[in-house]
Subunit: 148 residues, 4 copies
Amino acid sequence: MDKNKKNGSYALRRTVVWGDCDPAGIIYTPRVFDYATETLEAFFRDVLGVNWADLNWKLHLGSPTVSAQCEFLKPMKPDLVIDVSVAVEKIGNSSVIFVMDGRDEAGAHYFRATYVTCFIARPDFKSTPIPDSFREKMIAYQGVGGGV
Amino acid sequence: MDKNKKNGSYALRRTVVWGDCDPAGIIYTPRVFDYATETLEAFFRDVLGVNWADLNWKLHLGSPTVSAQCEFLKPMKPDLVIDVSVAVEKIGNSSVIFVMDGRDEAGAHYFRATYVTCFIARPDFKSTPIPDSFREKMIAYQGVGGGV
Amino acid sequence: MDKNKKNGSYALRRTVVWGDCDPAGIIYTPRVFDYATETLEAFFRDVLGVNWADLNWKLHLGSPTVSAQCEFLKPMKPDLVIDVSVAVEKIGNSSVIFVMDGRDEAGAHYFRATYVTCFIARPDFKSTPIPDSFREKMIAYQGVGGGV
Amino acid sequence: MDKNKKNGSYALRRTVVWGDCDPAGIIYTPRVFDYATETLEAFFRDVLGVNWADLNWKLHLGSPTVSAQCEFLKPMKPDLVIDVSVAVEKIGNSSVIFVMDGRDEAGAHYFRATYVTCFIARPDFKSTPIPDSFREKMIAYQGVGGGV
């Protein structure tokens, strides 16, 4: 990842594993959401600077998913190496729309997942404004190419 | 399941297991798609009369997911018993829109997942018209309350 | 489940789902441990009378796995219906050996999983004697056929 | 990985993800078998020179797990970075014993998984002698430190 690169966005590389695929030989639908969610978790850690353990237990916040959607553009098979990128599409008061795209090295587009994530405060789980430090980092990230 | 019941729809009951939930104590986002997909698999077997193994290896068809979406309406915790129902929202030429809702016995609504599923023919994976027998069963199912 | 039946043991029925199987068409190795663990969770709830949420947050205990082993006796394929039974093999001071067997209705034996589970006390996670009420229930369970 | 390094063994680095952990905050037992199996898959690809898709569909072989065992030595939490190494413990006629160890960078030992893997020939799934090329590569691997 090169956060400072113009037109660059954060991405996590992974290989489609055998066990993520079903007897039809292609990825099992729910596993793509594992890919998207794990990439979003890494984005929080590497770009926003907070891992989900600290977000929950030190900051007493949470970021549950309000809605998750995925378009399956090309079937994925075992051994495929894909880069799952994160874009910050929209920053609201307490919610953010993230877009995770899966592409191979040649640029072929395999899936696009869109998550609406809401920040909540513990212990009552009510929605809370996005902390300023996260907001600033996301705006900066959009500025260096991390938007949609 | 009572396929013949007026205003009734097919549903699969399940208990949220400990391992489906994350350290925040609520269900991990991707696991809800496991619930939705497993229920759709059971619907194919129990209502359309074909399991996915036979669909693939005997009929040389497949039913990949084109898009999957889920709205998370209420957090789900371990031991929650939910009924995941299937509704046939729209029947196209080769694709179907299925809606899977998760509710507890009191009727509280936990999630709504919407899948666009496309019928394809093997080995070239091109889209193919929905077989008549499946179409008829889905129309009949809508007629007894299995629509949205 | 019929806890009172002589020579009977607790079992959880499940259907092997499409997504638990890999491109070779048989169950993916790690998924069998999901089956075993989920059955053990249900055994705690239904036979020992405590779900894992209460075990952790009300009793301030835990039951982590010290070791887990499985012998794969017959390949499992999608749509197979198996009953996963629980036997209490040995009750120690703070640990228990559980054996989970997967069999179909005809009695064919698909897997045998053996778990060593240790009771620990929160928050320091040190091993602690098995609570008397659990010990008594497990001894009674062995008495009605729930041993190995 | 440096296959040529004396006393070196193949290892795959991974970060424990949020969704691999359960409400007790530590890794859910079955997920460790995902780690071990995925590392073994990578070992086949990177050290034996065959991915599981080619093993199955081009060589008409398979490598099902006969037994799998894991000792949980230290609890794993989200964000932990572990290297999962592969050792070839014993090479039989048609079966191999692999040992996968999970350690962090400081050398702390989190788990040891032992798999007995059997080579089978398709389509009848009968055990078959380990192909010579694989046997030679595993012996060479043991010679450069990849034994137990």
